[in-house]
Each structure stands twice: as C-alpha cells, then as structure tokens.
Amino acid sequence: MSEIGENLKQLPLGDWHRSLGARMVPFAGYEMPVQYEGVMAEHIWTRTEAGLFDVSHMGQLQLIGEGAADALERITPGNLSALAPGKIRYTLLLAQDGGILDDLMVTNTGHHLYLVVNGATKHDDIAYLQANLPDGLTLNHLEDAALLALQGPKAAAALAKLGIDPAEPEGPLPTDLYFMEAGPFLWCGIPLGISRSGYTGEDGFEISVPAEHAVALARALTDLEEVRPIGLGARDSLRLEAGLPLYGHDMNPDILPVEANLSFALSKARREEGNFAGAERVLAQYPDKAATKRVGLFVDGRQPVREGALVVDDNSATIGNVTSGGFSPTLQRPIAMAYVPMELSQTGTAIIVEQRGKKIACTVADMPFVPHQYYRKPKQ
C-alpha cells in the first residue's frame, strides 16, 4: 500500500470524495480518488448510465493574444489556425526533435485558445510553452478552476436536468453541442465552460467550473439517480477499452507521433507546411515508415499483461513492449496496448508477450476495443 504523503496537494473536491468513502491515492502530485464502490462496478456504470469524474488535476490554460493559434502551431502538428470558434481539436505538444511531450485538447473559445493538458506534465508544459511562444502572447494557468467529466449514455439526459443556460444570447444549450464542440454557459449564475468530449469512449461532457462552486456542481449531478462518482481506476480501464493512449505510458518524449499510431493528429495542411517542431523527423515516418507501432492486443486466457511486459520473438529476443494492460470489464477478457515491429502490426498477427518469465499468447486487435459512442455532428 502506498503512503499518503503530507506534501500531496489537495483538489477542490478532496473532502467531498472522502465524504463519499473514496479510497484516495497519490496521483500527479495530488491526492485523488482511485475508487468508490469498486473499479468493475464503476466501469460498468459509466458504460450503461453516467459517471462523474474529478479531473481537476489536469492543467487548464488560456493562450491569449493575436496570432496565438499560429504560434502554437510551431510546437504542435494540429491545424489550429483553421479551428473555428466553439470547436475543439486533439493535438500533441512536440519537442524540438518531434518527441511527444504531452497530448492536449485545444478549444477556440472565440476570444482565446483554451488548453487542457495532463496533470503530471502541466508544469513542464507551461515552461515549454513560455520558452517557445512569442512575448506578445499571454499564458494563464487557471489554477482556481476545477474540471469535472460527465460520461456515459445518460450523460446528456442528466446534464439537461440541471437547467444550464447559454452564457451568450442565441448560444446553444450544452446538449446541443456535438462531439468536439464547446461553449460558455451559466448554471445558477455560475460560469461554466462545457465541452462535449471525454476519455472513456462514451458520449459526455467536460465541465470547467470555478473551484468554489465545484462541490455544489458535483453534488447536483450525483444527486441524480443516473449519476455516480467514478474513480481513477475505472477511468484507466475505460480509456484502455476505448483505445485512447495515456501520456507517460503509451507516449513519451522518445516516441514520435506516427509510431504512436497518432497520425490522425498530423493535419494534412500541417504535413504539407512541415513547419512544426521536429517536422522533418516526424514526417519521415509518415504514413507507414516507422519501425514500430502502437497496437491493441487481445490476450489469450484470463491473465492480464501489464505495462513493462516485453514483446518477444520466437527466440525470446525483445522486439517490443507493453505500455498499458488490464482486464476489460466490458469484454470480460484481458486487453493491452503495446509497441510491436511494423511488420507485426497487422490486425490478427500473433504476438508473444513475456511476463515474469512466462510466455503469454496475444493477437493484434483493432482499436477501439469497445466502440466509441460519440455524439457526432451528422455528415452534411
């Protein structure tokens, strides 16, 4: 068991989690809830009802000023200058050699760019952004904002019960947003930034709320019959089923976007311009010239393979590694993500994983393992 250190920072909802009987663990420098009633039950609840996640450890940043999108494009491969107001894009923060420093969501609010970065990397990200963005831009760290995620097939119906209004005349309601859209809203006079997005593969929302109102919002949501609080344990098993990589595990500074199987984040316009950090190295792998690739694995039998287990060839030589692995509550079988040689990355290829001296048979699987249920805008 890990000790809860006294130097861990507390998040706005810390006492609320404890009052609900959550088991708290250290995570990204904070004390965070890993589970309430149990990972399996919370996972299934999110897939069938609606789960509320506290992700206030994540970094919420504002990038303000003329030319913010152009400047951010120098260190990300996303087509951010073409991002319309109210739209969100997933992108990657790249080191000068093209290695992945973080993955992040960028929203054009119409007034500035709003960035959500990982909790464990946010301070390094801020330093890197400050060093690589022009002086005329302002970078604000919204340390007084909490971030809640409401995820699951009943998330929209639940959110609609709160009586949230558009903050701007003629603005949409939260449930009018499509996947990867965002807007400003008011709840009992409290300003909320709501995005239709998440990290579970389900339909859902991420809600930025002033820290002093976070408990009231969390309580209003969990007072609804269909909403239960969900811990970090189920967040990890949900995102693994959804095939979504986790920074620091499935991606790191030694890995380039194409080998990470994140080529979709290299916008066509940006590939043609080739003017982002590490572009030469990154694009040399595009579209299929990387030596290795992140793939999904189905694991034979019932025993999960875990991060750190090795992918081996018939002679037991190491040819890759598992970066995430666990038991899928939805599929009732173990699943994993691993880096394998490109020639072994086709769906259906047999792979051997070695864990604690034991060889475990696996098969390359399509991701997501469990289909995404995003509320997408109908094709025109």
């Binding site: 344990g233 098993s237 019932r302 025993q303 875990r306 038991f327 509550p329």
Partner: protein, 123 residues
C-alpha cells in the same frame, strides 16, 4: 487446527503438517475486483518469502509471498473459472494452495488472529 496471519495479509491454516494458504478479507478488499489468480504448480518447493502466487485485479498485479516453506501439494482449481471467489470468500472458498510444511518453527514468525486484527486496525 490453528490459523496464522502475516503482515502481508495472508492467512495460513495449519492441520498437522499441512498448511492451507490464502489472502485475508482485508487484502481482497484493498485489491478490489480480482480477475485472475496465478497459483504455483503442484510440486513447487517454496522457501519462506519466495514469490508464490500473483493476484490480478482490474488495474494491477500483486505478488503473494510464501508465508512458510514447503512443497505445494494442491492448488485451488476453482479459482481458474471463478477468481471472484477471493473477493466473496477470501478466508474460506478463496484459498490459493496447500503445502507440506518443511519447517514448523517458521509459524513462530506469524501472528495469531487477535494480533492480526490489532495490526489491521492500526493501519
């Protein structure tokens, strides 16, 4: 017949020269939903402190160390199909394996039920 406990949250039930080993109710509650148990093979000679078994929950793998030395003579095959027995009945039906004790003096290193209860309450 007497039951012993370790500070690694294992229980050891001793009957003559035979010991049955499992994890405690406290341990299963800490681990959460158990999805797989890797038990040692029958015939394995375990030294006290060796890796004896692995318990896999949805999220993590945890080692179970041999509380006492001996030769494994039987494993709980029911766990293969129903690893959740460890959650529902950790200290009875969810036992892991049986061994023939090679050094009964090692039992002196272990706690009795009262001492273990006090140990858990102090955590």
């Amino acid at each position: 017949m007497s039951r012993y406990f370790t500070d690694e949250h294992e229980w050891v039930e001793v009957e003559g020269d035979t010991a049955t080993v499992g994890i405690t109710d406290y341990a299963q509650e800490q681990l959460g939903d158990i999805v797989f148990v890797e038990v040692p093979e029958v015939g394995t000679e375990l030294e006290q402190g060796d890796d004896a078994a692995v318990v896999e929950s949805v999220k993590a793998a945890s080692d179970v160390y041999a509380a006492v030395s001996g030769e494994v003579i039987e494993v709980n095959e029911a766990l293969e199909d129903e690893p959740g027995l460890v959650n529902s009945s950790a200290e009875e039906d969810g036992w892991f394996f049986r061994l023939t004790l090679s050094d009964k003096d090692e039992l002196g290193d272990l706690m009795d039920e009262k001492a273990y209860k006090a140990f858990v309450e102090g955590l």
